[in-house]
């Protein structure tokens, strides 16, 4: 079955796609079902189009001299930068929904996640095929003896299963709970990606630190409400012993 089911929206409650994109997060916690968001079918195409902007910019700059005297390095750095940027953005939807009640980011999360992997893969491909021009012994030496490159590769390897299991079919196959656990790997990938960046720079850690702070903040923003809910449940239990029945 394809990843985009075309069941009539009004007829049934959130389908798999809607579940992945936020609809099903609420029921396991016992609250009321999430309010249906308006269709806004343009959201995902718009996100993808925006997300491909930096790539298009590279293309335009390549032909107008906008990449400067050392274009190879500039392209490599830009692809890496946008990988981390999209990875950070992909962490926004959960806390945005939990803390602010804003649900539309959830609907573009998959697109943002795939953009992350796409830019990361392009970053690696550019390093292998352009920067090092398939100098395989040198590349092998890089990833086996230099922690900065090894960590970079590991980051992408962690993102790979997330990209593969991004389809609705995979969500169903794994079950939402397991799928969700698997996709928490994105935090590990984010941390490794920041380490890769930090180990790359010579002295100026501003950008890596900014990514680290942003990711840590988003993780906290996710954990705090979750912990709050757990506490609230625990507090509620003794007061109403019959409610749970076990």
């Amino acid at each position: 079955m394809g990843s985009s089911r075309s069941a009539p929206d009004a007829a049934r409650p959130p389908g798999p796609a809607a579940a992945l994109l936020g609809g099903r997060a609420a029921p396991p916690e016992g609250g009321p079902p999430a309010r249906r968001a308006p269709a806004r079918r343009w959201l995902v195409p718009a996100a993808v189009a925006l997300g491909l902007g930096p790539l298009a910019k590279i293309g335009v700059d390549a032909f107008t001299g906008g990449l400067g005297p050392e274009p190879v390095q500039v392209v490599l750095n830009r692809l890496g930068f946008w990988t981390l940027t999209f990875l950070t953005l992909s962490l926004v939807p959960t806390p945005a929904k939990a803390l602010l009640g804003i649900t539309w980011p959830m609907r573009v999360r998959r697109a943002v996640g795939l953009l992350t992997f796409g830019y990361g893969a392009a970053h690696l491909a550019f390093y292998v095929g352009v920067d090092k021009f398939f100098d395989l012994p040198e590349i092998w030496k890089d990833v086996t003896t230099r922690r900065f490159q090894a960590v970079g590769l590991l980051t992408l390897l962690l993102l790979l299963p997330l990209a593969v299991t991004s389809t609705d079919a995979w969500v169903r196959r794994l079950g939402f709970a397991r799928w969700k656990r698997l996709h928490r790997l994105v935090y590990a990938a984010g941390a490794l990606g920041v380490v890769h960046f930090a180990w790359r720079v010579k002295a100026d850690l501003r950008w890596p630190l900014l990514f680290a702070v942003a990711m840590a903040g988003l993780l906290l923003a996710r954990l705090v409400p979750a912990a709050g809910r757990r506490l609230a449940r625990r507090a509620a239990r003794p007061a109403a012993p019959d409610a749970g029945g076990r």
Binding site: T64, G68, Q73, E138, D142, W199, D204
Partner: protein, 314 residues
Amino acid sequence: MARWRTDVAESEVTPEALWLRRREFLRLSAAGALAALQPGAAEAAVEPSGQVLPVSRRVDMAGGETPTPWESATRFNNFYEFGTEKDDPWRNAGTLRPRPWTVSIEGEVRKPQVVDVDRLREWFPLEERVYRMRCVEAWSMAIPWVGFPLADLVRRVEPTTRARFVAFQTLHDPEQMPGQRRPVLEWPYLEGLRLDEALHPLALLALGLYGRVLPNQNGAPLRLVVPWKYGFKGAKSIVRIRFTEARPRTTWNLMAPHEYGFYGNVNPAVDHPRWSQAKERRVGEFFRRPTLPFNGYASEVAHLYAGLDPKTLY
């Protein structure tokens, strides 16, 4: 596409405009996206600017290689005093006031003095030297510097018998150098040479490049150029030259001693811990080329390091 080496005589340098047009030709001949990665592909040539410096002679010490275009050499710089991005120095160095400028020469010398940078031009005839310039980051250029041998200045101020090293200090003034408002490095920038290195005829104090007075972003008004060493050894915007008995502290070596040695000699056999030093990319070229020991100046300078473990020469 690799090197575009010309078969003209070693001393002959292709005019810059032609050099750029050749790129354009390459682009138009649909060499594809890779050709588009050549810098300045569709840009008009930026002509050298600034006050012309008269030179008494010109020497090519880069094997006849076409110098890197002026535009690249003046817009792609590591000069953290103006920011850590490569184009930051070009964008931000306007705040530097390179005149009037004095250099304090002090320490173990018989003639310590504070000299105006313009006096140096009266003391020493200027010459143009095309040197290979290899950055520790594995990119490189070929640059026609205008300057005079450091040795001439060293001899003039008469080091004492105690002098074994020469230390160079860059201006420390966050007003003029906005990058110094953040502690990216320990300011001021410090560099140093052994006295015998400083006396080597290849070591140059530069006042200009491409026949013009040094642009601010290239280390105006006075900078060190040591072509067999990585670029970070070339202290820029020098305000102090101090002769010492003890080895001076040097900035990058303080920052990360396992990555940047005191010598900073170009050495393809010793990798930077985070990247290979075996090859380099000449700015403006696509393929990397092998890095030469001592940046191709081994026959001139290797004797300075006889008896030292080459593995320590990075």
